[in-house]
Symmetry: C2
Subunit: 326 residues, 2 copies
Amino acid sequence: MVFFMKICIIGYGTVGRGVVELIHKKKLDVTVVGVCGRKCGVYDEDGIDLGSLIDGTKDVGLDKYPGVRKDIDANKMIDMKCADVYVELTPTNVVDGEPGYSFIRRILSNGCHAVTSNKGPVVLYYNELRKLALKNNVKFLYEATVGGAMPVLNLVRENLRGNRVASVRGILNGTTNYILTRMGSEGAGFSQILKEAQELGIAEADPAYDVEGVDAAAKAVIIANEFFSRDAHMEDVDVCGITRITPEFVSLAWKNGFSVKLIVEVGRDVLRVAPRLIERNHPLCVDGVLNAVNIKVDMAREVTVVGYGAGKYETAGAVISDILSI
Amino acid sequence: MVFFMKICIIGYGTVGRGVVELIHKKKLDVTVVGVCGRKCGVYDEDGIDLGSLIDGTKDVGLDKYPGVRKDIDANKMIDMKCADVYVELTPTNVVDGEPGYSFIRRILSNGCHAVTSNKGPVVLYYNELRKLALKNNVKFLYEATVGGAMPVLNLVRENLRGNRVASVRGILNGTTNYILTRMGSEGAGFSQILKEAQELGIAEADPAYDVEGVDAAAKAVIIANEFFSRDAHMEDVDVCGITRITPEFVSLAWKNGFSVKLIVEVGRDVLRVAPRLIERNHPLCVDGVLNAVNIKVDMAREVTVVGYGAGKYETAGAVISDILSI
């Protein structure tokens, strides 16, 4: 008999659906026993019929699904300890980290493993949650919070074992990279391209989170705590966004062999997000919505990884990679 | 009491010394019980004094080291089963894979783990050695054979867990990338730059292994067997080197936004090494001695990793990462 890991998914938005769809389509060796929405849940200790769930919630959401129960919510499902791994996929909130923070605390305190794609709790309560996981001898993984589908945290933890990280620099926000790339190739202004990016769904209706560097700063905090054992918080990051970058500046840089990129810089004593000139032939100089991270270490010298930092299946893929590693 | 993994190093050339120096300098939780040269060895079941070994062999090699024993060689040390992990670092030989092939077979048959940086045995006897490791329930790891310090094999195995690999393209030979980069930036001819690269120690005295694509082809074979469960061999690779690339061709490509790179392409039905035009802003388009690999997968879409494919400490670092993962 084969042992299938039991998982329960908290939060059935874009990423939650992506995770369920991939587990179903790829026939992964994982049994989904629970899926919770805001005030309802689907539960089957033998494994939910994912095909029916995907079809039945397509346009209407979880709360209209025939098999949904109103007497079950996330807290109840967590306390049932019905799964080996709880996958916390509620929306990111970098102000107080809720509701994800309370869910993750509860999961770890119950002695279950937690995987999340939610930056909020990881940014705000990194050391508290890491210690809680350690104390309860369970895993707490959050690869999807930094660079989406692009391996960063696990790359250092697993592939660069034994290396000491000296510094990290990277492009960790696809929206701003898209805007800067188009400013470079077309010479158009910031606000015009932002408007088009919003129409294409690449930028949010409220773009501040991306263009003012808040999203990149959140990732910088996670990297600082993870790689340098710091106790960093959002207010420790020296942040400058891209709103004052002009097409003239971008084009002057280009003529001299540089591109302008919003760069996250993290080291033992550095924690900064700012527009920087990057040489066109530097591995970090990737265009469009791509993300890239350059990690300087003592043995491998430096490794750069490039990939997609966002997207339904890309983010879901990072979550699944964490689940399968447990 | 802390348990330190016991390791034995077979082959004390550049990489072997690099591994010993890093273990010593970084105070890694590893006990080196044996180090073997061609017909001699150093052995101490409580752990060799690595500081003395490094100093005592600096200019003279292992066979002149005061503590060396002539009654111990690699085969004897392997059969003593004195280590948990044997690290096979003899020179690469892609003709018959010896002596590494026989050493690795013996290590695995004895029920010990094997780590190697030696492409020969992995290229020639991939499936046989993998099966032998599986049968004896031990690990056989060889990250350093593909891309040196740059994680490729373990990246897919660990970080992209659950992903199906669709195709792999990459620059996997630093020497040819260095030559092509300089042809592009200086407009000089192939043979002139090759000569300078030889003087700098970037190219070998016999450059055929690099410039005719043999080294890249060996890596292509390992990738084909590892990611696509193929039974590929050197003769299955469609190889074209860079010896006929002219400065005119490189500069014409450059004017049109491309660089010429020696590209390895591997898929379920593809196994090829050839010069290709790569768009300047593509993540694979890295210059100098850098290597880069672009991996297309089903969930993360695509991930590119860039790093140093060779070098004493870079290669030693990949070996150490494999050792620590056991």
